[in-house]
Symmetry: C2
Subunit: 185 residues, 2 copies
DNA sequence: GGTTGCATGTAAATGGTTACATGATTGT
DNA sequence: ACAATCATGTAACCATTTACATGCAACC
């Protein structure tokens, strides 16, 4: 998903500065499905203004650089709706851990076990974050709640699967040497 | 995940040509977690040979361009293990559909419903593919089976969640006009 | 005194996607 | 006839990531 559309969508949700858009995609339910960095956001915002899809209101602040609040224009909203009309591509799961796990046989079982345990803990953290987010915003829009629930369900499935099948992958990893004596045989 | 490491990993799994590596990441259990295109594979393979991490054996074929079979070298295997040692980054879910759903209120309910139904069907297709893959290779390595199972669990969670909560997001979308008369009111 | 948060931006480097170029075979 | 499969590769294009540049305030 390109930064331009991501910014346009963020502005449709409410007026914001570049800094705030970053936070939007870093915290909250949206963070689980997308990401953007400053290096993409600021140029994208400049371009949106040039194209007339957003307008910028500078808000002077003391002891801080001016805050630039962007607002979507009617033209911007049409453009967003147009880009929403195109058939969305398939969902993608990208996991470096899964790549690593594919070569479990090359790695010591202890390392694999730690990696799995850490990842299960991470999944549970993400779930807790989503729960916290929902508790914080009980009046959130239905669509935001739907996304949060979907993220939660996916993380839960991954955590549960890993917990249930952990032993299988550990059995595939390099067995630890039961003792130095054995290693020297 | 960069193409170079993806290729190195593929070769660790067995000797292959560029074309075969593409297939490996396009079909089978691995396809759900990564992707690579020819434009990345061929330059990556050339580089691996230059770096001494793989070697290439040309296999002439009649009526076809020569097939170039690549094999990982011991140096390549060490390099792979080294790259496996670095702490894997967090898992990422990327979904254009979820971005769209965030703006369900801007779109007609019928469109949202179709999108959801299509996606549920797609998830179920992916699950069936994984099942078929497992039925085809009953003697697959434990790590490959683990990944297939994980993919299956994630797709199932997403499909089930969407089926169960479909009505909520449809309620948030633009209600269809019950009749032309109403629209003209 | 060091880190985090607020706040914006540019430029280089990196690297992937897409399009192009070639061409025979097999299946519909 | 037309599409798909097999088979490799280059080059332009596009975009993100990363590093750099600046600077104050608040907290530990």
């Amino acid at each position: 998903m390109d930064a331009r559309t991501l910014c346009l969508g963020a502005l449709e949700l409410g007026d914001a500065s570049g800094y705030e858009i970053k936070k939007l995609y870093e915290e909250g339910d949206l963070s689980h499905f997308y990401a953007v960095g400053f290096g993409s956001i600021y140029p994208a915002l400049t371009r949106l203004v040039q194209e007339g899809l957003a307008e910028c209101h500078e808000q002077p602040q003391d002891k801080r650089p001016d805050k630039k609040i962007y607002r979507i224009t009617p033209k911007g909203r049409s453009e967003l709706i147009r880009s929403l009309a195109v058939q969305p591509g398939p969902d993608k799961i990208r996991s470096e851990l899964c790549f690593l796990l594919l070569f479990a046989n090359l790695l010591p079982a202890a390392q694999i076990e730690k990696l799995i345990d850490d990842r299960i803990a991470w999944y549970r953290e993400q779930m807790a974050e989503i729960d916290a987010c929902e508790a914080e915003h009980p009046d959130a829009e239905a669509s935001a709640r739907f996304l949060g629930g979907l993220g939660h369900a996916i993380y839960k499935a991954a955590a549960d699967y890993m917990a249930a099948h952990k032993s299988e992958i550990i059995a595939a990893a390099q067995a630890p040497m039961p003792g130095a004596a054995r290693a020297a045989e």
